[in-house]
Subunit: 413 residues, 4 copies
C-alpha cells in the first residue's frame, strides 16, 4: 500500500498548478467578459482567451490528458493512468468552466472521444476523432429523453430505423450538454434499432452531424437560472426523420447499451475528480472569507460554528478523494467493469459531500455567496445537478445495495 | 387553546383559493411571457397581467391585507390580525412571484408602507404612502452594505449629514430588492446621522426619491443564476452627495435602529408565511410527480425513499406552520417585542426546513427539477437566500441561545 | 385561534411544578437507593418513596389525570381534556421514571385502564380497573411477538382457542413492559381467536392474570444495557396452554384490532408529551453545563457550536410541542380517529427530534453525559426505543405518505 | 499509488479470518456465560475461554501485533507496520469485546506497553512490560479527571510531589478503563510535578501499582446501561497520599505531556481501525436481517429505505477505511507527528460515521436492535463514547480548523 504519487504525476501537478495560477485563474473574468461580448453567448469556443489557453496548455504538455493509457493502444492521448490523471483533473475542477476546456479535457467531448477511439471505424476516427483531439470541433451526447426515466438506458425511445443505406432517426432528447454551442459539430445519439431484441441489445449509437436536416435545437435548458453557456449549455433537441448514412453507426447494431456502460465509468470518475477540486476551492474561499470578515467584533474564523464547517469539510474531502483515487486505481488495475461498485460509490458520495461543502461556503459569505460575485452559487447549481445527471442518487444506491445484500445473503435480491 | 380559524379568515381563505385557482396560477406563464417581451425586464409593474390581477384582487377584497389591525388605528388596511393574515399570506406563497404583487402584499413595499404608516409625517404619507397603498408606485429599502456585516444594523456606514435644510447622503448599498424596477420611485435608506451617539441612536431613516441626483443604480445582483426581475431584482446602489430636504427624515434623528427593529418583525413573519406556501406547493409537485413517473417498472410513489421524503416533509411543514401561527398570535396579543424570541425561532427554522423540502421535490423530478420547467429551482434559490437575508441563521441562533442560557443560569452570558 | 391555556390548566401546571420541585426531583436519588436495596429490583412498587409520592399527588389532585373527559362518561378520571393534560404530562416527563408513577399516569397502565374503562364489563372493571385506578396493582400489555413484525397488529400469532367456558392461550410475547415487576397482576393479551376471519376481525383481547398456570416470565429484556427496572422492565413471556374463563375476553371476539387502534392513539400522544418534558430537561442540563464548564479558557456557553445546539434545540422543541398540542386538540374535538394523521405525525417527529436534542446534551457533558451521573444516557436509550416501540418510524412514514399521495392524486396508492 | 496489501498482510488477514470464524465468534456467548458465573464480573481475565483464545492466537502468530515495527528496535512485537496491522485490527473490531483481548491487542494495555517500550527504564520494562506482553497482567491509564476538561491534558490537577526518594500522589481520576478488573496490576498515572513550569512541562507520568496504600477504586462508571465489565469497566479512583519510589517515574519530570502525545496517536488509530470492523459487522447484521425479515408482505431488503441505508453505509465505510489506512501509512512513513492532522481527522470522522451506521442497523432490527439479543446496542454505546473519549469531537475540529485556516491565510488564527 502506497499513497504517494509517482514522479511524473508530481511533475504534471506542479506544471498544472503553475498553469492555473499564471494563466487560468487570471483568465476567468476575461472569459466572462469575452463571452458577454459574443453575438451568441453559447459559442464559447470563439472567445480568444480559450484559444490562448489551449495553446499554452498544449505547450506545457497539458493536453488530452484524460484518455487512459490502458484504453489507448495507439498512444493518441498523453499516456496517463487514471490515478495519474486524477490530481490533474481535480486541479482543473477548481476552475471548472475554463480549465478543462483549456486542456481539451471537458465533458462531454472526453467521453465522446473515448467512444470513438475504442469503437469507431478508421473513417469515423478521421472525420470526428482527429478534429476533436485537436480541439477544432465540439460534440454532444444525445442520450436523455424527457418522456422516460433515462437513468435506465433501456428506456430510451428514440428510434433508429434502417432504410437502405441510411438510418432514419426520430426522437426527442434533452440535456444534450454543449449542444447550444454552434461549434458543436456532431452528436453521438443513443436510440433503438431493434425494440424486439433482448433488453440490452435493442440500443445502438450513431453519429449525427448537427447540420443534418431534421435536427432541431429547440431551446436551452437552465440549471437554477444558469444557462451554462460557458460550456455550451444544455439543449433540448428534436430529431425528425433525420437521415444519416449507415456508416455513421458506432460499433454494430445492438451494441449501444454496452458502449454506454463503457462510456459512463470514465465520465463519472472525471466528474468526481473535478468536483473535489470544486470543493477545495470552496474551502479555500470559506477560509479566506472567515479570516477577513468581522462580525460582532471578531473574525468569523474565531467563531465556533464556522470552524466546525471548515473542519468537517476538510475531513469529508480527504475521505472522498481517497475513494476516488482508489476507484481510479481499480480502473487501472482491474478495469472499469471490475470497478463497477466503486464507480457507483463515488457517483453517490461525491455530489452529496461537495454540495454540503459548497453550501457551507455560501453561508460563510453571506448574501455575496449566492450572487455572481463569487463562483460559489454557480458551483452549487452544478454540483446539485450532478445528483441527477446520469441517474439520480437513488438509482445508484438501489443498485449498490442489491450487490451488498447479495454478498451477505444469496437470497437478498 | 383553540387551533381553528375564525369565520372571517375561513371566508377569506376560500376567496383566496378561488382567486389563485381561477386567476393567479393560470397567469403565471402569461406573466413570464409578458415580462420577456418588455424592453426592461425588471419593469414588471408594466405587464398588463399584473394590472388585471390587481383589479381582480381589489374586487375580491384581497388588497392590502398585510397591515395588522393592531398597528392601523386609521383603518387604512384590511383590518386583519396577524393570525388572520397568516393563511392568506401562505396561500400567496404558492405563487410567490405573482400572488403577493397582485394583492399589494409584496416585500419590500409592505414593510415600507408599515414604516410610513407608523412613523411618517402627514406629508410623507400623502406623498408616498397613499400611492403605495394604491399600488401606483413601488419602493426599496436600502439597508445592507457590501463592506460590513449588515446583519448587525449598527454596522451601517452610510452617512447622512445635515447641511442647512437638507441632508447629504453618501454610501454604498446592495441587495436593495425591487430597486431595478424603474417604477421603484423611492427608497427608505438607513444611515448614520451621528456616529458619536450611543450605539443604537446613531442611525436614521430617510426617504430618497430614486431620481435624486447622485443616486446611481450600479447593477443587478443575481441569486444563483436568477436576476429576480419578476419582482424588480436586487440592486447595488451608490449614493454620492445625494441631497434631500430635511422633511424626508422618518421620525427623528437617531430613531433609525428602533424603526428597523419595528420593521423587521412583520417582514420576517410574512416571509415565513409565504415560505410555507412554497413548501406546500413543493410537496404537491412532488406527490404529483411521484404518482405519474415510472422508473424500474413502478411509479416513484410506490418506492420507499420517495415516500419517506413525502412523510418527512408533511411532518415538518405541520410543525413549522404552527410555530409561525403561534408567533403571529403572540404579535397580536403581546406585540412584536413580546414575540421577539419566537420571531427569531421562525427566522431560523423556516428556511432550513423549506430548503430541505424543496430539495427533495427537486430530486423527485430528476433533471426537470433543476430546470425552468418547474418552479422548484427558483424556489430553491429563493429559500436558500432567506437563510442569509436579514442576517445569516448563525446570528439569530447565537442571539436565541444567549436568551436560553440566561433562562437557566444568570451567569451564562 | 388561541394558544393560551385555560385557568384550570394553569393552576394544575403550577401545582405540578411545585410538586416536581418539592417532592419528585429530590426523590429521584432516594428512589434509586431504595430500588437497589430491594431483593427484586423490578418491584419498584414496593419502594416506600413511591407510596409517599402517590399520597402527595393524590392530596394535590394530581391523580389519574390521563383519562380524557371525552372518554369518561362515568367521571372516573380527573375530567381533563387532552389539551389540558398535555402540559402536565410534559412536566412529568422531566422525571420520567418517577413522576408518571407518582401520579398513576404511567404506561402501560394508563392504556390498559382506558381499555377496561371503555370496553370492560362491570365485573372486569371491578376486579381490575378499580385497583388499577387506586394504584394498588400494575398491569402489562402483551402484544409484541418476537417472530413477526408486530408493528402490523394483524401479524400477531398467539392463539386464543375457545374450549368450553374457557379460552386456551398459546403464544410467545416480548417487550411486555412493566411485567418483570411481581406486582404486575394482570396482562391484557392480544391474540387470534379466528385465523379464518377477515384480516382485522381475527384478533381478540383477553385478560390473563399473571399467576395463571402456563404463564412463564422468561427473562428481562435490556435497552442499551438498561433493564428499566425502575418501571418494571420489559419481559419475554411464554404462554403455554394458559386457561382463563371466557368472561376474561374484552369486548367481543374479533374486536381486538379495533380496541388496539383505540388504545394506541392516547398511548402515543402521552409518550410524546412526556418526551417533550425529557427534551426540556436535556436542554436545561445542557445550558447549566455550558455555563459552568470551562474549556480552553472560556465557558462552553461562549463557544459557538454549543450555542448552535441550544438554539436549534429550542426551535425544534417549540415546533414539536405545538404539533403535539394541536393533535391533543384534534383528539378532543374530532376524536382519535379524526386525529389519525396527526397522531402518526407526532409518532414520527417526536423521537427523532428528542433523540437529537438529548444527544447534543450528552456531547456537551463530555464523558459524564454517557455515565450514570446524569439522566441523559438513560433518556437517550429511552427515546431511541420510541423510534421502534409500537412500530418503527418507517411504518408510520409509509402510511402517512400514502395518505398524502392520495390527497394530491387519487391514483397514487 | 497502490491500494493493495502486501503478501504478509494478506496471509495474516486470512489467518485472522479463520481464527475469528472458528474460535472467536463461537466463543462470544461462552465468554458472556463464564463472565456471568464469576464472583467478580469485572475479572474477565479469569474466564477460561480467554486463556484458550490467547493460546490459540499465540499459536497462529496473532499475538502482540499492535506494536509498530518503526517504534520497536528491539523486535519485541510482531514487526508489522501500521498499514499491515490495520486490516487485522479492523477484523478484531468485529468482535470488540473478545478478539483484541485474545490477541493481546486491547486498549489500554497496548498504549501502556508502547509507553513502557519507548520510555521505560530496563527495570520498569522487566517488572511491567514483560508480563504485559505475555498477557499475564493488565494495566490502566489514569489520565482523565472529573473536575476539569481533560481533553486539554494541561488541565490535569493531580499532584505528584517529590518527597525524598518517593513521589507522593494526590488526585481524583475517572474513566480509568480496565481498572475495575482486580487483575489490573498497575496504573500509568498523569499528574503535575511542577505547576510552575511552562505549560507543557508541568506534567509527568508515573507507575502506580494498584495495591499501593492510598489507592481507592471508588466505583465503576457506566456507559449508557453498560458497565463494560467485559473489558474491565471504567473506574473512578481516588489517590490519597499515595507513595511510590522515584524509580517509578516514566522518563523525566516534565515529560508527561510529550509522552501523552506520543501515546495518543497510536491509541486513536487503533480505536478507529476496530470501529470500522464494528461498522462492517453492523452492515452484515443489517443485510442479513433485511433479507430475512418480512414486513407488509415483502422482505425489508426489497424496501427502498433499507436499501438506502445499506448503500449509504457501504459508501461511508469505504471512504472512512481509506482515510484510516492513509493515516496509518503516514505514521509509517513520516511518523506520528507528521500524521497529526490525519489522526485528528480520523478521530473526528470515525465515531460520527460508525454511530450513524450502527443506528441504521438497530432501526432495521426493530426492538431486537436495542436489546441484548444483538451486539448492536452495545456497539452503539461504545461508538457514541468514542465521540467523547480522549476529547470531544469539537476539540479536535477546532484544532483542525485552525490548521486549515492557517494554510489559506496566515492571519487566520
Amino acid at each position: 500500500m502506497d499513497f504517494s504519487f509517482d514522479s511524473r504525476t508530481k511533475a504534471l501537478v506542479s506544471e498544472m498548478e503553475d498553469f492555473m495560477a499564471s494563466h487560468v485563474l487570471p483568465a476567468e473574468s476575461v472569459f466572462d467578459d469575452q463571452l458577454a461580448a459574443l453575438d451568441d453567448r453559447f459559442a464559447w469556443t470563439r472567445t480568444p482567451v480559450v484559444g490562448e489557453l489551449q495553446a499554452e496548455a498544449r505547450r506545457r504538455g497539458l493536453w488530452n490528458l484524460f484518455l487512459p493509457v490502458s484504453a489507448d493502444p495507439d498512444g493518441v492521448g498523453a499516456g496517463l493512468t487514471n490515478v495519474q490523471y486524477a490530481p490533474l483533473a481535480e486541479i482543473s475542477g477548481r476552475s471548472g468552466n475554463l480549465a478543462p476546456a483549456a486542456m481539451n479535457c471537458a465533458a462531454p467531448d472526453t467521453g465522446n472521444m473515448e467512444v470513438l477511439h475504442l469503437f469507431g471505424t478508421p473513417e469515423q476516427k478521421e472525420q470526428w476523432l482527429t478534429p476533436l483531439l485537436a480541439g477544432e470541433i465540439r460534440s454532444g451526447f444525445a442520450m436523455t429523453e424527457p418522456a422516460v426515466a433515462s437513468s435506465d438506458a433501456t428506456n430510451v425511445e428514440t428510434s433508429i430505423v434502417r432504410d437502405g443505406d441510411h438510418y432514419v432517426i426520430n426522437g426527442h432528447k434533452w440535456w444534450t450538454t454543449g449542444a447550444m454551442n454552434p461549434d458543436c459539430a456532431v452528436f453521438i445519439l443513443m436510440g433503438k434499432t431493434d425494440p424486439e431484441a433482448s433488453r440490452h441489445r435493442q440500443q445502438s449509437m450513431i453519429l449525427v452531424p448537427r447540420d443534418t436536416p431534421g435536427v432541431e435545437v429547440v431551446r436551452p435548458l437552465e440549471v437554477f437560472g444558469y444557462d451554462d453557456h460557458e460550456h455550451g449549455g444544455h439543449a433540448e433537441i428534436r430529431f425528425t426523420d433525420v437521415r444519416v448514412p449507415v456508416e455513421n453507426l458506432i460499433g454494430e447494431e445492438g451494441a449501444g447499451f454496452a458502449i454506454a456502460q463503457a462510456r459512463l465509468g470514465p465520465g463519472r470518475i472525471h466528474h468526481c475528480m473535478r468536483s473535489i477540486g470544486m470543493a477545495e476551492r470552496a474551502v479555500e474561499l470559506m477560509c479566506t472569507r472567515a479570516s477577513e470578515r468581522v462580525a460582532f467584533g471578531r473574525p468569523l474564523a474565531q467563531q465556533g460554528v464556522v470552524r466546525d464547517w471548515i473542519a468537517q469539510s476538510r475531513v469529508e474531502i480527504e475521505q472522498l478523494r481517497l475513494l476516488v483515487l482508489k476507484t481510479a486505481w481499480l480502473m487501472d488495475t482491474v478495469g472499469t467493469r471490475g470497478a463497477h461498485t466503486e464507480i457507483q460509490a463515488i457517483k453517490i458520495a461525491t455530489p452529496q459531500v461537495v454540495q454540503t461543502i459548497v453550501d457551507r461556503a455560501i453561508q460563510a459569505h453571506g448574501a455575496a455567496g449566492v450572487s455572481q460575485d463569487t463562483p460559489l452559487a454557480m458551483m452549487a447549481a452544478g454540483i446539485r445537478t450532478l445528483r441527477l445527471a446520469d441517474g439520480p442518487d437513488e438509482v445508484h444506491k438501489n443498485s449498490l445495495a442489491k450487490a451488498e445484500l447479495k454478498r451477505f445473503s444469496p437470497a437478498g435480491r
